[in-house]
Symmetry: C2
Subunit: 315 residues, 2 copies
């Protein structure tokens, strides 16, 4: 880990309308989702994970996936992604013209069974079927490895197992990989090691880090990953996207807090922080509750305050 | 910054009853403060900043400084500190038998005038008077440089100015230095640079880093400091200790979140995290509001959950 290894530019990938909204207690109206995505398209983020083409029974909050995907304005230069749990979802996402499909399975067998009702091996078969269906389309395929830094049921996952799964993803025809800290268990030392091992094994294969701030280490994990040259990060506006195992804890790392830290360190993101903060400040009205993101409350470090009037030494 | 430069052991210094409580809306009863400090003494923290011997008009929440300092149990191996704003406070702290006095001024002239109603030069004169008064006693003197990473009125402070002030502290007879990010403006790159510059100039002079999590970067700043070999950190139980310029934002870095991150990275602290978390979970009752600390809500990364019953593949 070293500041010298930092990338010159970081790609910020917004997941608020998918990972952020999926477990919110309140359904966010379709028109509000579309307006939020269109506004995010204007902030300079590199990717937006728009929605998930999943069973409306499993995730009622995203039952409007197809409608949202159809209605958003596609800004050139932004990659619009949908999460897909299976071939059926993939076909719907391709039909909706998504730029990228995000396929996910958990390296932890217990978590994959709980989440997907499939063994990881069976999920991988599904990936191969999706890769076939996507062949000849313009869509790229990203594979997310959930619980890559730990599973709430099984605990730590062996790095070799994670890397072997990443290799299997690439063999199945996927283009890029996300290492996801699904329930916020990663620590910075572990992150640095796994990112370095990934790079050593897979060279320039595009790698995204997906962190949650469940235990307060979200931006420390980003720092550790940057120190190994990582350049793609998922984040959620306002830091929403909590985890069912940690009631009251924070969710995904906050997009505006991430961009603020990168700005302060002189790392280019191409993102307009002011626009992001303004959108984050609108979330409490949309969701009916406060948000974990800090910069929306505190302002930027560079936002100075007027000195108290009449300042002078007492004597 | 590198993991190889990490210290083998980190000293965790608890400031909840001073920095944490000083701007709380509610006065915490003296007996509760004493009980909290006595319980903290049993957790393994290296230092406890017990209180501030300051004018009760300026900080009504700490009007019971002398009573608290007299009544707490002194556990051997723990250093009991009081913040002192002036010679009068220093004399009271010495009389109360504090192990260490913490003297503070802001490197930002505007902030020092606002906070202390003195120029920094005048504050330094006060330091010399306190050093004289403490000579021959067993008390050590720590000097805190407030706004070392930025002032909410003036913005960034030149590292050379900060280091020159640290030199003046040592010349005035102080034993150790704290670089304080008073309003949570520091970023990790800046932290690494300032810690490295401090080490280059002052060698083994004991250095504490005092971070606030106002903009979500608290633990990332700790990581950057560890990467330069820093081994002493202030933190506040529950992460309380907000800043008047950032309503709703988090306060000091949370002691339990700090210890949890260090534990997870294999850095020894000598602190019993379970005891800390249990104390943090008592804070909302004491304060009448929720706390920003995350680990008290989410549990440790290592706290596993039972897998859902009857898990099996769907087909």
């Amino acid at each position: 880990m070293s500041f010298e290894a930092f990338p010159e530019r970081v790609y910020v990938q917004e997941v608020v309308t998918r990972d952020g909204l999926q477990i919110e207690p309140r359904f966010v109206p379709t028109a509000d989702k579309i307006a939020l995505i269109d506004a995010l398209s204007e902030t300079g983020v590199a990717k937006i994970e728009v929605t998930s083409f999943v069973s409306p029974k499993a995730v009622p909050n995203l039952a409007d996936a197809a409608e949202v995907a159809r209605a958003i304005k596609r800004r050139p230069g932004v990659t619009y992604v949908a999460l897909v749990p299976n071939l059926h979802g993939a076909e719907a996402a391709l039909e909706a013209g998504m730029d990228e499909l995000n396929l996910v399975l958990s390296v932890s067998e217990t978590h994959n069974l709980a989440n997907m009702r499939m063994t990881p091996a069976r999920s991988l078969e599904g990936f191969r079927a999706i890769a076939s269906a996507a062949r000849g389309t313009r869509a790229t395929l990203n594979g997310s490895i959930a619980t890559a830094f730990g599973c709430p049921f099984e605990g730590a996952q062996a790095p070799d197992k994670v890397l072997a799964l990443a290799g299997a993803y690439l063999d199945a025809g996927l283009d890029s990989i996300t290492l996801a800290d699904t329930t916020g268990m990663a620590n910075p030392r572990q992150v640095a090691r796994l990112v370095a091992a990934f790079r050593a094994r897979f060279g320039a294969v595009p790698l995204t880090l997906h962190f949650h701030n469940t235990r307060g280490m979200g931006l420390a994990n980003v720092l550790a990953a940057l120190g190994e040259g990582a350049e793609r990060f998922d984040a959620s506006l306002g830091g929403i996207g909590g985890c069912p195992f940690a009631p009251g804890a924070t969710g995904n790392i906050s997009t505006e807090d991430l961009v603020h830290m990168l700005d302060e360190m002189g790392v280019t993101t191409g993102v307009d922080l002011e626009k992001l903060v303004s959108l984050a400040r609108g979330l409490p009205d949309l969701l009916g509750h406060d948000i974990p993101g800090q910069v929306a409350k505190a302002g930027r470090s560079a936002d100075l305050h007027p000195a108290p009037a009449g300042l002078r030494a007492a004597s």
